[in-house]
Symmetry: C2
Subunit: 255 residues, 2 copies
DNA sequence: ATTATCTATAGATCTATAGATAATGC
DNA sequence: ATTATCTATAGATCTATAGATAATGC
């Protein structure tokens, strides 16, 4: 079995089935030799955020992934499918956490809200490219992106659910629950807009904790330091948990 | 002189110089007969937000404005110029208010911050189309849009300036001023994201007041009701003021 | 003469499909 | 035989410019 032979160089590209790629000029500095599918997604991720979705040609994506334009279509049926895939990858982790947190009745709603905001904001702030900006593409309103929109809707509902279970101080705060949930959601996703100025946020961990604190202020939390401590623990629990799992359970496809 | 003759119908379009437009099929329900320049901007505003910037052809814009594709170029030198114009129109009023408010030393920093957030959020929430979403277009990073970016930067700086002059309660809040300013700015511009779901926000006035309240909570305000009352008065002053002016002083072009 | 439109078009794209081809795997 | 690429291309755009034309204004 030749494939089992020990590779002499760690970096030596594995021999692959199929016609080899043509020499493509300088490699472009992209990932060394990931799966073609991932190379394409990485290329699209960069180009969509830097140049825009419509302004990015399939030719440019393919070039950056080290192949010819038409070869991309072996891996994805359309340009839309690329965008779909990127969008869903972006919300999935936060949504997974949200659904886990909703079930963790031992922790206070405030702590869970803090943790959700923290994880969500950190994901938005820390991603290599500002993929969250793609949420605003008008194209996303099309039918093809309904699954993504549904996922994002469920995430927003989770915020509302947790927010509704908090126990705000005094007259704090006025306005309907739905409206407050929008403010909270807006504060978190405001990270996307903050990134427009100074490329990646300096320190995503600190920044996202600041966002989570802000969320509890909007919620009228009475004991922020306590909720924050509990929330941090939840984040840690979750991270520990997901490291044991095979590779994070694929998000359950239930509506 | 036939032009001086009293028009029999108020709606009768004024006779204009230049070759008349060709019959264009159903009018599309657009504005009755505004200036061509404004018709074009209105068309672009709708199409850019609904279909996306690159995805909108100059042909589609012209059609909606009731003229042929090439005629648009008599009024604007390029598609980019259209976008520039829309973007600048969107920030200009908030920026004008911000610079006025910065100079109003009689009012507390909190009240001025509340008022700024209120006016800015109301503008974002109340505009017919979600023009704020255009801020995230990658194209906006290009040199051609530097004036817009500079205006938006000055607006953000105004938030920071006012925030820095507030007098927060207790340890409230941690984090550097720049970071808190970003949170505040993010909360306000989160309106843009909220609009993705349910087209125009139900009630922009109430909603934007809620945003402004949220800003003061983030700022750690100690007497929100008082600041809100003062802030409301500032808004009213400003609106009264600008109604007396010829048509709002054009935003001073100083950097 | 001036203005605001029109028609026509150059030149440059762009997405997706068809069908050929160069590897590996059995 | 299967896989993953390649080349070539159909068919449909799209932006901006050139130059003609139909009004008004003087």
């Amino acid at each position: 079995m030749p494939t089992a032979a020990k590779e002499s160089q760690a970096d030596r590209p594995k021999r692959r089935v199929g016609r080899p790629r043509a020499a493509q000029g300088p490699d472009g500095g992209a990932a060394p030799a990931a799966e073609p599918r991932d190379q394409i997604l990485a290329a699209a991720s960069e180009l969509f955020t830097v140049q825009g979705y419509t302004a990015t040609s399939t030719r440019a994506i393919a070039a950056r992934a080290g192949m010819r334009q038409a070869s991309m279509y072996y891996h994805f049926p359309s340009k839309e499918a690329l965008l779909s895939s990127l969008l869903e990858t972006t919300v999935a982790p936060s949504l997974e956490f949200a659904e886990w947190a909703l079930a963790e009745r031992d922790a206070s709603a405030e702590a869970r809200l803090w943790a959700l905001a923290r994880i969500d904001a950190a994901q938005l702030a820390g991603a290599e490219h500002n993929l969250g900006a793609l949420y605003l593409l008008p194209e996303v309103q099309q039918e093809a992106f309904a699954p993504f929109r549904q996922m994002r809707g469920r995430l927003r509902d989770s915020y509302r659910e947790l927010l509704g279970r908090t126990d705000p101080a005094r007259d704090y705060p006025p306005g309907g629950l739905a409206e407050r949930a929008h403010l909270v959601f807006g504060l978190v996703e405001g990270v996307i807009l903050a990134r427009l100025e100074h490329a990646p946020v300096a320190d995503p961990a600190t920044y996202s904790a600041g966002v989570a604190d802000g969320v509890l202020r909007l919620a009228g939390s009475r004991d922020l330091p306590f909720a924050r401590r509990q929330g941090l623990r939840l984040c840690a629990d979750w991270i520990g948990r997901s490291e044991h799992l095979p590779s994070s359970t694929t998000p359950k496809d239930r509506a």
